[in-house]
């Protein structure tokens, strides 16, 4: 399986998360052929590939990024938005320009605003295990496992407010999973219900993808072991 990793406007945390899988990384690298990755290999040209992992939001004022992204779409059979910035904009949603070295760059959006995306993986960054699970499911063609991420590829907006909606529609039974999952600790459990501090929410999409009351994939009903 030929894999491209393209980094747009991001911190590289998602790629670091992938490498944080220790021995699993070697296993994965044996199964895939990394044909383009600005950080890890010295290849200038994007090649035809089976899967493109795109990390980072796309800046609409940056023609070069848009071209790269469109080129990846043409050359990849499957485009994966890797992490919060690529999927939903994440923390780049808060950019208001005036930053060096590109003070005019202001408009950072999820890549699905520019190209069609096949899978979106929330997370800032997504956990190493989650990235590995997804790569393995793609290799196996396990679309059932990938279902939630396929569905998310149609979302361009998310934030902790999704959790408030769960409470507001009497679906929240107070498990506390959203609270544990939040990377910025924006969610506190008060009297058995989540309270979201939206001013520190970075729109990573983790809390809502983790909530069993927003979605409980059918494959989980099968008890293993």
């Amino acid at each position: 399986m030929k894999v491209v990793h393209l980094q747009l406007s991001s911190c590289c945390g998602c790629l670091i998360s992938l490498t944080d899988t220790y021995e699993k990384l070697l296993e994965i690298l044996n199964k895939i052929e990394l044909v383009y990755c600005q950080t890890l290999i010295d290849v200038r040209e994007i090649k035809e590939c089976d899967v493109a992992l795109v990390e980072g939001a796309v800046c609409l004022e940056d023609e070069h990024s848009i071209e790269l992204l469109k080129e990846v779409r043409e050359k990849a059979k499957l485009v994966v938005a890797l992490g919060a910035c690529a999927s939903f904009g994440g923390i780049t949603r808060f950019c208001k320009g005036n930053q060096p070295p590109k003070p005019v760059h202001t408009s950072f959006v999820p890549i699905s605003k520019v190209i069609k995306v096949d899978l979106s993986i929330p997370g800032c960054p997504p956990s190493p295990e989650q990235i590995v699970n997804i790569i393995e499911a793609v290799i196996k063609g396990d679309t059932e496992y990938l279902e939630p991420f396929i569905r998310l590829s149609e979302n361009t907006e998310t934030c902790g407010c999704e959790i408030i909606k769960v409470v507001n529609t009497s679906r929240c039974m107070g498990c506390g999973t959203c609270s544990a999952s939040c990377p910025t600790r924006a969610i506190t459990m008060v009297d058995g219900k989540p309270v979201v501090n939206t001013s520190i929410c970075i729109k990573c999409g983790v809390c809502s993808v983790q909530c069993p009351r927003i979605e409980f994939p059918k494959i989980l009903e099968k008890l293993e072991g």
Binding site: T169, S170, M173, G174, G192, C211
Partner: protein, 278 residues
């Protein structure tokens, strides 16, 4: 199958006197956790502490004493999973046991399979113990039941229980008050009304009082992992067990209640779909 997949079901009771003094029923949960900690099968367990007046506080317990402190049922929502990351990151636990209501066990199974926001956590979850659950109450709802309907100050309560169609309150003066369970329905958490899992179908081991005689628990062993630890504990004398077929009221009641919950709440789910809030 109304009880989910399982390997075997027995009626059991702990043999540890300290546990039985504090536990809700047969002390299954606390005994397994204490055994797990003492034998290093677990190095931390997530339980629900009584923060005073039965207010729930999810807690990471790392010693048998801490497990004992948290024994007994609190009939209000305890977000146990909220401290899961803390168990691994702050307490450094690598073999975590979790006790939870069926919904919490489901949440945990989801995060194991889809650990999007749980870096290096899934492989540290060693055992899931589920407790049977028909419904839960928001804390203020529980307080109304105890203080207004039963006429007991929260301060004076030593034990709360549901059984035989009644809600029971035991006071520190040795009194017992009970009201019909029907009277408590209005104070149930409405998120519970779309829940169809009574016996924690995705746990390694599930347990509850229903089906077994007073002081005993019905134990559903579901996975290989669950079976291994439970069998070892029986061999080493931590549990007395009886075949479920030989106890009263028996498995039939568990099945009946599990089915009632599924039927009633499936209807509610359909109703809410019509309302457009699901």
């Amino acid at each position: 199958m109304v009880l989910g997949n399982y390997r075997k079901i027995v009626s059991a009771r702990s043999t540890i006197p300290e546990v039985l003094k504090k536990s809700q029923d047969g002390g299954i949960v606390s005994t397994i956790f204490i055994y797990g900690l003492e034998n290093r099968l677990l190095d931390g367990v997530i339980v629900s502490d009584n923060g005073g007046n039965f207010y729930t506080i999810p807690k990471v317990a790392t010693t048998p004493e801490e497990v004992l402190e948290a024994a007994g049922t609190k009939y209000s929502i305890s977000p146990n999973i909220s401290v899961l990351k803390k168990a691994a990151r702050e307490y450094g636990c690598e073999k975590i046991g979790v006790v939870g209501t069926p919904c919490q066990i489901r949440a945990t199974r989801k995060l194991i399979k889809y650990p999007v926001g749980f870096r290096h956590i899934a492989d540290k979850i060693a055992l899931l113990i589920g407790i049977f659950c028909m419904e839960n109450f928001p804390y203020e709802g529980l307080k109304i039941i105890v203080e207004e309907l039963c006429g007991v100050k929260m301060d004076d309560v030593v034990k709360l229980d549901i059984g035989k169609g009644k809600f029971w309150v035991y006071t520190r003066w040795g009194e017992t008050k009970a009201i019909k369970l029907k009277e408590t329905h209005a104070f149930e958490s409405s998120a519970c009304h779309i829940c169809t899992d009574y016996t924690a179908e995705l746990a390694d081991i599930s347990t509850g009082s229903v089906g077994s005689p007073d002081g005993w628990s019905t134990v559903i062993i579901r996975t290989e992992k669950g079976e291994e630890i439970f069998n070892k504990m029986v061999e080493e004398g931590y549990f007395k067990i009886k075949p479920i077929e030989e106890v009263k009221p028996g498995l039939g009641l568990v099945e009946k209640l599990a089915k009632t919950k599924k039927d009633k709440n499936s209807k509610e789910i359909e109703h809410r779909k019509v309302l457009g809030i699901i």
